[in-house]
Amino acid sequence: MAELVITQPGTLHRSARLKRVLGRDFALAYWLIAPSVLVLIGLIAFPFVRAIMLAFYSQPIGGEGRFIGLENYRTLLQDRVWWLSFRNTLVYTIFGVGFKTAVGLVFALILHQELKGRNLLRALLFVPWSVPIVVDAFVWRWIYNDLNGVLNYVLYKLHLISEYVLWTSDPKIVLWAIIVVVVWQGTPFYMMNFLAGLQSIPDELYEAAEIDGASPLQSFLHVTLPGLKSVLIVVTLLSTIWTSNELQFVYILSSGGPAHMSEIFPTLAFFTSIPGRELGLGAAVALSFFPLLASLIVLGGRVLLRGAEE
């Protein structure tokens, strides 16, 4: 295409100048990236900006929007449910990510040995993560069932509980019951990444540690952990973004109840905006953690870009 332009006398000059400014292959390149730019701008950037704007509007579904400044945020800050969600989202994310890291690391260390059937084990331990989250959540909702759930039955038979526990309707227990499912579902992703990280630590380092008389614990602390540092950072960073914005577990296991005791920002944003029909207020809820989230996204993006350039 570009060659064609050059053969036309009058346009030679202009085309050469354009090429200098826009790059050698600009003509073809802009055609090739046009569809993805359309998606990036029309379906991601524009909606993203619109979400931020909406937070300052009163915008019922299908109704007239009205600019109300910080009114949505004033409403939220005076709302007990928002504060509950604030606390729950923090607890949910911190403990979810924390336990996933710990359990994932243990699984990875176990699998990073010469074991019989290691590939099969790895595939089996990976299953919860590959199943749709909705399915995971429903299976656990059935396991947690008050009357016919298998968890109550087994724990009762083992004399670990003296009466049936209301896993998803006891206000003190519900959030922790959900975190258990979050950890169960997300651990495989951590495990696989940690395993890849462990495999990249050279054996010589362990040998050197042994020659220096390091105990297994010492070589774990001074060889394994430093070797895993970059993987740990990437995984926990990305997972914090994903975990804190995942509504399916709460939506399916408890709908945020009882009395909002397991409500988190993603579910509150959904309930406020779609069934509650207040798009503006819902956007404000979704953006509650925006400064924190934005910094995580920028940080995560940088790490991924750096990884790609290496």
Binding site: V21, G23, D25, F26, L28, A29, I33, P35, V39, L40, I44, F46, P47, A51, L54, G62, F107, L109, I110, Q113, E114, R122, A123, L125, F126, V127, S130, P132, I133, V134, V135, F138, I143, N148, V150, N193, A196, S200, D203, E210, S230, L238, L247, Q248, Y251, F265, A269, F270, S273, L279, G282, A286, L293, L296, V298, G301, L304, L305, G307, A308
Partner: protein, 281 residues
Amino acid sequence: MRRSGEIRRSGWRYFTWPVLGVGLVWTLFPFYWMLTTALKPNDDMYRPEPLLVPVRITLSHFHKVFFDSHFPEFFRNSTLVALATTVLSLAVGILAAYAIVRLDFRGKNLIARALIFSYLVPPVLLFIPLFELIFKFGLLNTREGLVLAYLTFTVPFTTWLLMGYFRTIPVALEEAALVDGCTRLTALFRIILPLSTPAIVVTALFSFTLSWNEFLFALTFTSNPVSQTVTVGLTSTVAEDVFFWGVMMAASFLIAIPPVVLYLLGQRWVVRGLTAGAVKG
């Protein structure tokens, strides 16, 4: 080699099998429970002492899923939406990835950055404005609306993965073709794409599974079986029946099959893909 293996093993030897045993039960019991529930008659399910091992097997729950529910429609919708999303995002992604990796133009770093940052923007920030957009275009309760929404996560992801792969193909191969008079596009279709078949297959598996598993957009943009996918379909089944667990677990089992099979096929690639090459294997 052997010595280092011993070092690593020494601290863990006594823990390995007990921990693995607990880990396997913890990981797999829920799926055992799902499958046995799907196969148990209701009489054996709703009783004070649930049967840990099924004594009678029935296919009635599966029968209900196939012949007496909206699930065939949900499955059709999920398949169509996931396929359309996959094909579209591959088309968009291949062209963009090639341009970014091989061509010289202003703004390509900006696009590469925009792609990675949009990959990290969670759907929770986008579902409200996308709802407005889809509402305005009259695409609520349509599969087309869902495909549009799904492109927001498949396009950045697909492009990014393909960029990583295209970079590994030697430029020399293409240069030879260009010298022989090929155009850039011919080089892309005749040389790059055939060499990238494995990456394209894996990327396609990914887009398909991500779309198949998606929940929030489907929940927000669809409200009847004409356009609902399997994931929201499952939640809408709850209200219809008091004794729904057999059917729920049968349907759950069927819904889980395609992604599990696809992930097991492309297991090694999955994780590497999700962290988009940040973690070196």
